[in-house]
């Protein structure tokens, strides 16, 4: 094609090149810079349901064993009670060698997240964001004041077949109902032969 024959074709060609460069730029650099770039099937009307990602974390042993990282992310608004035990789904971790090693092996590698609560009893209203964990502030919804949570964590309940029911647990710091927006990220390692399943 001689591009000076038809200016419209010249423009289309340049546009295509620009699009390719933008795509490559996005593809390469977003991998390095954005660990949690997620597309979900959910509507933008709500936060995504919990999802499971493979992470870049790996522990390699000289005998060839590899522990591979996986991360479960979820978020909830906790409101209306002072004790919460909210199921986040089930994770199945199969045997890495067809049953020779029992199913269910995992190492808890990292747990983090954020807890957002609103103070409305003070003269000025403000938000407070703490790390996910026991002691993070929640709002006492009776008084509007912030109170330290007595407990905040994630539990995995094993049924001995490699399946764990995951729950988000929290207890407010007093007898009144407590509220907070919570996001947690739980990263765990399991044998690289296994792909955990979320259901």
């Amino acid at each position: 094609m001689r591009i000076n024959e038809d200016p419209r074709q010249y423009n289309n060609w340049i546009d295509a090149v620009v699009r390719i460069f933008r795509f490559l730029n996005s593809a390469f650099f977003s991998i390095d810079l954005l660990a949690d770039k997620i597309s979900t099937e959910s509507s933008s009307g709500s936060i995504p349901a919990p999802f499971l990602q493979k992470t870049a974390t790996q522990i390699n042993y000289p005998d060839g064993t590899v522990l591979q990282g996986w991360k479960l992310t979820g978020g909830m608004l906790l409101t209306g009670a002072n004790i919460y035990s909210e199921v986040q789904g089930t994770i199945r971790i199969d045997s890495p060698d067809k049953g020779v090693t029992p199913a269910g092996f995992y190492i808890a590698y990292d747990l983090r997240g954020s807890v957002k609560a609103v103070e409305t009893a003070a003269p000025n209203e403000f938000d407070v964001i703490n790390s996910f964990g026991s002691g993070a502030d929640m709002q006492d919804t009776t008084t509007g004041a912030l109170v330290k949570s007595d407990y905040m964590g994630v539990s995995l309940d094993d049924d001995d077949n490699g399946e764990y029911i995951i729950s988000l647990k929290a207890a407010g710091g007093n007898a009144n109902p407590c509220e907070a927006e919570v996001f947690y990220q739980f990263e765990f390692l399991c044998y690289s032969e296994v792909t955990p399943q979320l259901s």
Partner: protein
């Protein structure tokens, strides 16, 4: 921002009367379980392009837009029926509001219309209606197991001697945002195992 009474439809926890009505009431044609969005994981796509698929076999069925409309209408009928008890009217109003919000989100999601909120709190769903699974199905076993665990863990946490002491649901859950005519009569009744409904 003044403290407003929490309306039950906004709460993560649900009242037993809401749970029971959605799951068993003959006046509502489409039976649902009332859970949080967290029990229905969805497939997410990570940056690296690796698809981490959610197991499909145990997914709960979500009501269609028509089914949500049906639930909403049935709940509205109960709410406005003079013969309904106070508790039924209160529970029906909560179901009506939840169904309406869920329908709006589903409708806009289907049409790929973006939804924007002023505050992050609004983005978190409270209870979500999912089609009640058939007895004997895998989904049925799953929800029985989940609700059993939930009650067990709440009991466990309640007995650990925190300052909170024991499971407390908000009294204010009973009240509408301003002066709802359909508030439930008594204190909040914590949800129960589906096996007990």
């Amino acid at each position: 921002m003044p403290i407003e009474a929490k309306f039950a439809a906004d709460a993560t926890v649900k009242d037993k009367r809401v749970q029971e009505m959605a799951y068993t009431d003959v006046r509502i044609n489409v039976k649902t379980i009332t859970e949080t969005v967290a029990i229905q994981p969805k497939t997410a796509y990570s940056t690296a392009g690796e698809v981490v698929k959610v197991s499909e076999e145990l997914k709960f069925k979500e009501p269609s837009i028509n089914e949500l409309e049906s639930i909403k209408e049935d709940a509205k009928t109960i709410k406005e029926d003079g013969a309904s008890s106070v508790d039924d009217k209160g529970a029906a109003e909560i179901i009506e509001i939840v169904a309406e919000k869920q329908k709006e989100i589903a409708d806009k999601g289907e049409k790929k219309i973006s939804i924007r909120y002023a505050r992050s709190r609004e983005m978190f769903s409270s209870i979500k209606l999912l089609i009640a699974p058939q007895p004997g199905s895998d989904q049925y076993s799953k929800i029985l197991k989940y609700s059993q665990k939930k009650i067990e863990f709440q009991t466990y946490l309640s007995s650990r001697g925190f300052a909170g002491g024991s499971l407390v649901n908000s009294q204010n859950l009973l009240k509408g945002k301003s002066a709802s005519a359909y508030s439930m009569a008594g204190p909040v009744q914590p949800e129960v195992k589906y096996a007990d409904l």
